[in-house]
């Protein structure tokens, strides 16, 4: 089963390596990982996606808590969190295909980040699932390059009681 973990770590040299090394050493697999600053300059957020059994998830959380640089480990539960990912996709775009691609992009609220004579770079922010769909749809047109950030997540502004916006997938 897949889980998203949001981990706050001290912004110190080697903090990320200590986390990833623990995963490697104990045979836990990381599907995606995103690291960046938070509202505090001395704290970074690592968002991890793992595929594991519930017992393993518990081990992962406990082992992470033992790392001196790790401040908090939280599982982002679907419905109670917001998850987003950014993707850049360079797609072959001969003049004859452009209109079709632009229609697709519009449907996904993807922006054109760069435009060349033979290709377009799309920029898409969405749930990882939306990005998966967009990727599949443009692939037949010739997906030349793809870069994804890995998912980022936060607990929701209003906890579970308020109605969820449509695009948050359960």
């Amino acid at each position: 089963m897949r889980h998203t973990l949001s981990v706050l770590v001290e912004n110190k040299p080697g903090a990320l390596m200590r986390v990833t090394s623990m995963f490697a050493r104990r045979g836990f697999n990381i599907e995606s990982l995103a690291v960046g600053p938070t509202e505090r300059h001395d704290v970074s957020r690592i968002t991890l996606r793992v595929d594991c059994a519930p017992g393993t998830l518990e081990q992962i959380e406990k082992q992470m808590h033992k790392l001196v640089n790790v401040l908090r480990v939280q599982e982002l539960v679907a419905g109670e969190s917001v998850e987003r990912e950014l993707a850049l996709l360079k797609v072959a775009a001969p003049a004859s295909k452009r209109a079709e691609l632009m229609t697709l992009a519009e449907a996904f609220h993807a922006r054109v980040a760069d435009l060349g004579p033979d290709s377009i770079v799309f920029e898409l922010v969405g749930t990882p699932e939306e990005i998966d769909s967009f990727e599949e749809l443009v692939r037949p047109h010739g997906l030349q390059e793809l870069g994804r950030t890995g998912r980022l997540g936060l607990g929701r502004a209003a906890k579970s009681k308020s109605p969820r916006p449509q695009h948050v997938l359960a």
């Binding site: 040299p13 390596m17 082992q63 808590h65 033992k66 640089n69």
Partner: protein, 569 residues
């Protein structure tokens, strides 16, 4: 107080109350050794190899219950510490390792004797620091000691570039550390402790399965109180040998691969296992799916990650064992007489399945070496250390340890060569105790150079080599599980001449081929006050029994029988 970073390291060690450190100098740590020459209250023991220094610090820590400290230079000095660090990690030994590093401006350039020791050791330390600014040094040393000895004990590493050691520092030692991510549990949950007390009172066949955590927690008195109050049998793992007095009627031996059958049966046939600072190691459980199938499990541990890591814990209690055990003993309302039938059953097994070996033939039996050592040290304040292999298992079986911290061995990592340097470190911690290293001939040859340290630093230890001329445990496995295809195990009994080697190092050397010679050598050595090596030449064909074959159920013990047949009970 104005000085250098190196002075600051020493002032910090002094402030921590460190009495002795173990190390070996080299280029990148020269400023620290120069500061030592300028004066410190800390004694430095000069090892002959950094691995020796590391194991000495471990032996010191385990014999004293304090943090061990070792020092090495950059590059190969630091990498030679990797084995002791890994060993300390596996056995939860509190250790602060201080390494020199190349100058800050050379880091990353593949400079002479540069290696990324903080990177190399990440999987085997609780935490590590590369000191980048001399002003951080006092707080980092403070934090290093704090992390090493709080929560589950273990090794930490502080890597100090040479220019940081040389830089000017206005030293003051902080009163507190700021480690927002380090929050070891302060006490066990009262409700969980109450649930444990109820489970213990209700059990018909309870057992305390005690690991090394009890020693790290300084909780042996509380353990004794709990066991006696509840009339609970106690098995102690290899790491906990001595944590519960072995001559106590409630002691039920040692579980695991070479534990007696009755101990393994007691643990495996219990209806309630209370694991106390133990981690269900594979050498204890054997085949996990067959381990103690009928038992409810209570797991008391300071490390939450050990709970349900291997065996599901029905009642987990996370907290410091000293207070957890004390509260448990207080809460427990034992039903009088409830465990007596169970205790009688264990005693019956004990009488039915004693440790046995063939006492025939002319050759000295290895088990007899340990029996004799036990007999001649029985009335002494003694600390035993061991290497790893058959001799270690015989030491576990035949030595009686009634006092905590009297048996120091490499359990989790199984580090051959641990015994001699660990003994030297233990002697530094407890100079008034008789320190005996029970070693194998293979193990001894891995770290024998530390005899020089023992002699010159006046840390006299007695090394008893159970010399069968083979890598004996490997021989046993090749004999039993590889159809007697012996491969690359013959070391020979006579080369080197260990007694001569001991004399070459300035110690006393003895060779014993008979029981009489051994007795005489031991009597002389134990009272000599000198570093001694006793080369006890034993029957190389002797196997270590009982044995649970790797991957077998712990109840399926292979036993020695007098007719020479190995049977599964």
């Amino acid at each position: 107080m104005i000085g250098t970073g190196a002075d600051g390291i020493l002032r910090a060690l002094e402030a921590e109350g460190v009495e002795v450190i173990f190390g070996l100098p080299g280029g990148a740590i020269l400023p620290l050794y120069d500061a030592m020459a300028r004066g410190t209250t800390v004694r430095h023991v000069l090892a002959r190899h950094e691995q020796g220094a590391g194991h000495m610090a471990q032996g010191y820590a385990r014999a004293s219950g304090r943090v061990g400290v070792c020092v090495a230079t950059s590059g190969p000095g630091a990498t030679n510490l990797v084995t002791p660090i890994a060993d300390a990690w596996m056995d939860s030994t509190p250790l602060v390792c201080i390494t020199g590093q190349v100058r800050s401006n050379l880091i990353g350039t593949d400079a002479f004797q540069e290696c990324d020791i903080t990177g190399i050791t990440i999987p085997i330390v609780k935490h590590s620091w590369l000191v980048q600014d001399v002003r951080e040094l006092p707080e980092i040393i403070k934090a290093a000691f704090h992390v090493a000895r709080t929560g589950r004990c273990g090794p930490v590493l502080v890597d100090v570039p040479r220019d940081v050691q040389e830089a000017e520092l206005d030293f003051s030692y902080p009163d507190a550390v700021s480690l927002p991510g380090w929050k070891p549990p302060r006490r066990g949950h009262a409700r969980q402790i109450a649930a444990t007390a109820q489970a213990v009172a209700a059990a018909e066949r309870p057992i305390l399965y005690v690991g090394g955590g009890v020693l790290n927690a300084h909780a042996t008195d509380e353990l004794l109180e709990l066991a006696e109050r509840g009339r609970l049998p106690v098995v102690t793992t290899l790491m906990a040998k001595g944590a519960f007095p072995e001559s106590h009627e409630l002691h039920a031996g040692w579980p695991g691969m070479h534990g007696p059958k009755w101990s393994n049966w007691a643990l495996n046939k219990a209806d309630l296992i209370v694991a106390v600072g133990a981690r269900f190691d594979d050498r204890v459980t054997g085949k996990l799916s067959a381990f103690a199938p009928g038992a409810t499990v209570v797991h008391l541990d300071i490390d939450a990650a050990e709970i349900s890591k291997i065996r599901h814990a029905d009642i987990p209690v996370v907290g410091p064992l000293k207070s957890v055990l004390a509260e448990l003993a207080e809460t427990l309302e034992p039903v009088p007489g409830r465990t007596e039938r169970w205790l009688a059953q264990i005693a019956e097994w004990r009488d039915a399945y004693p440790l046995r070996y063939a006492e025939d033939g002319d050759e000295l039996k290895p088990q007899r070496v340990l029996e004799l050592l036990q007999e001649l040290t029985a009335d002494r304040d003694v600390v035993f250390t061991t290497g790893v292999g058959q001799h270690q298992m015989w030491a576990m079986q035949y030595l009686r340890c009634d006092a905590p911290r009297s048996f120091i061995t490499s359990g989790g990592l199984g580090t051959m060569g641990y015994g001699v340097p660990a003994a030297v470190g233990a002697k530094a911690a407890r100079p008034d105790a008789t320190v005996v290293c029970v070693d194998g001939d293979g193990c001894f040859q891995m770290t024998q150079q530390e005899l020089a340290t023992a002699v010159l630093e006046e840390l006299p230890v007695v090394v008893v080599i159970v010399n069968n001329g083979y890598l004996g445990m490997v021989r046993q496995w090749q004999d039993m599980f590889f159809e007697e295809r012996f491969s690359q195990i013959h070391l020979t009994q006579a080369l080197p001449d260990y007694a001569l080697l001991a004399r070459a190092y300035g110690g006393l050397g003895f060779t014993a081929e008979t029981e009489e010679e051994l007795r005489e050598a031991l009597v002389t050595a134990l009272d000599s006050g000198r570093a001694c090596v006793i080369d006890a030449r034993v029957d190389p064909r002797e196997h270590c029994f009982p044995m649970i074959p790797s991957g077998a159920a712990a109840v399926d013990v292979i036993e020695y029988t007098p007719d020479g047949q190995e049977v599964i009970a």
